[in-house]
Symmetry: C2
Subunit: 338 residues, 2 copies
């Protein structure tokens, strides 16, 4: 174990986190949903986790209103999130996408105007896949990614995720930022006093930088050059222009989060043996010759293993600095959790 890492009781960390989110102004059931999304990331060793609470990024928006339905027609549902917290709104949207796909074979649930980070979006498509439905989810985010060939952050880190039901185990979940590093990867590195790789971001003048603070004031690169930049743009158009999420340059560009969910029920297609085909495909990958001594890992498999192991143990390893920040916030708020 890294000396800057601590192992703590999972139930205590969950309770502490929920109380902090409640103290920020959320109802208990809302806090439970928000912390469930964040702990999912934290349990997988992913930087989209509780650091959002420590950073003060989890708080209700003044003047937020109820979620309203813009369109509800057959396979299509379009919601306005009314600036409600994204982790609550999108968890519900994903549930509705599952239901709608089971009725129509395929469904689209679009959400505009949720607020704040939606957290690790693999969470939602995993839930969808656990319910038996293929989930594809794209999220629009604040604008800090430079398209290939540019130095200005006009795109979001725009993650996309796909969840595929696995008849023989945990769903196969791909969850990737279309940026070379996630925004909270910058925040985490800055808070830990670490450098970032030299090819993932640039400073405000467009010069490559390894300083996360300079990168936060500059722009992140898309992953994999033109291919990743193209994917980032497509997520931008699908979650911005199409769905009505914030458009780069507009006053609500960063506040109005857009999300597009497509859900597909395998049972609605005419394929005989989806489970058999899935098993055979995954077995072929696991049975391939490795390159060097490494394991061949499915998307998300490393995180799956870590999560299963920590859930079994009832304990979780987190950054000492993160725990300190959470405890300090709890002290401030007069929260005590045993």
């Amino acid at each position: 174990m890294n000396s800057d890492r601590l192992t703590v009781r999972l139930d205590r960390l969950r309770a502490l986190s929920e109380r902090l989110v409640e103290a920020a102004g959320f109802a208990p059931d809302e806090a439970r949903q928000i912390v469930d999304v964040m702990l999912y990331a934290e349990l997988r060793g992913n930087n989209q986790g509780l650091t959002k609470i420590a950073a003060g990024a989890v708080a209700p928006i003044d003047g937020a209103s109820e979620v309203t339905t813009l369109i509800e027609k057959g396979a299509v549902l379009h919601l306005d999130g009314g600036q409600q917290n994204g982790m609550i709104v999108i968890a519900d949207a994903a549930r509705q996408a599952v239901e709608r796909a089971k009725n129509h074979g395929i469904a689209c649930v679009a959400v505009r105007n949720s607020s704040g980070s939606t957290g690790a979006i693999g969470y939602y498509v995993r839930r969808m896949a656990e319910a038996g439905v293929v989930g594809i989810l794209m999220g629009g985010t604040p604008k800090n990614v430079a398209p290939a060939g540019s130095i200005d952050g006009v795109l979001g880190t725009n993650p996309m995720a796909v969840g595929f039901p696995n008849p023989s185990g945990a769903p196969v979940v791909l969850d990737l930022a279309t940026s070379a590093i996630a925004y909270f990867g910058l925040i985490g590195a800055r808070d830990r006093g670490e450098a970032i790789p030299g090819d993932v971001a640039m400073d405000a003048d467009g010069k490559p930088t390894t300083d996360p603070a300079a990168a936060i004031g500059g722009a992140i690169r898309a992953f994999a050059g033109h291919k990743g930049s193209g994917l980032a743009l497509m997520v931008e158009l699908l979650t911005g222009a199409l769905v009505g999420g914030g458009i780069t340059g507009a006053p609500d560009a960063n506040a109005n989060r857009g999300t597009l969910i497509v859900a597909l029920d395998p049972a609605a297609l005419g394929t005989d043996d989806v489970a058999g085909g899935t098993n055979a495909t995954l077995a072929a990958i696991k049975g391939a010759r490795p390159e060097g001594d490494g394991d061949i890992l499915l998307p998300g498999e490393r995180g799956d293993r870590l999560m299963a192991q920590q859930l079994d143990a009832g304990e979780i390893e987190i950054d000492r600095q993160l725990l300190d920040a959470l405890e300090a916030k709890a002290d401030e708020a007069g929260i005590s959790v045993n």
Copy 2:
């Protein structure tokens, strides 16, 4: 102009190609569709073009049967291509996806068991976007891509494409192989006697190689390491297990092509001004500061420009060796085109 390149009359090349495809056994309207797909690539300077004719890769399958409908229900259509040529089957499937999206808001058209390459899949989503509909298309292909961490080609090059309607010009079309190089990129390099980059493929023993022939006998890498490999696997599951396309290791793994099309009608959502949002997004990208002296290009823009220019001129630049191969095939078949 490169000395190995020639400029030829577009109408003559089209006619020559159509006659060759007819000579291979296709009906005139089928030949027209097939050549339209291939010329689209060739006009854009893309290696998915007429080299397929020169390589003998365009021919009807003995015992191919009619396309049959496995499922047709609301927003979902699932077709069995009966081993008909993929360029014909998928062009029709994309047209049906557009119609179905206009009726249901969102549509899924799945196709199993088409035969041969579908060509540059950007073609299909561009047609869909020209018809006003967002198109997402994924294609399963023969198995020659090694998942990250492996040296065996158990995945396809598995391209994905997204077409987004652009109110102010050509649709924005992203078309990317999830492999580090397209399979026909290897064929083209081999035929031209060129080396391939050292980090895109490996030989049969899993050693990195710059020899395209060794790579053809070995495996291609996914693009961008784990992210690209994850995308390749998701396309594999969606076009294989889900749709009923060929599963790696199965006898029909390479012959049974699976394709998944999702179509989404922007008019079915509750967004006020999709066109305005699209224009603003694209303008922000074009208005960003460039890195160095380069242009900031949208996905497909370089190809769009080249295509427009060659269509205007009525002339197209192609590899001398490719033209020689086509002419030789024509001579053999007794075809003469002025």
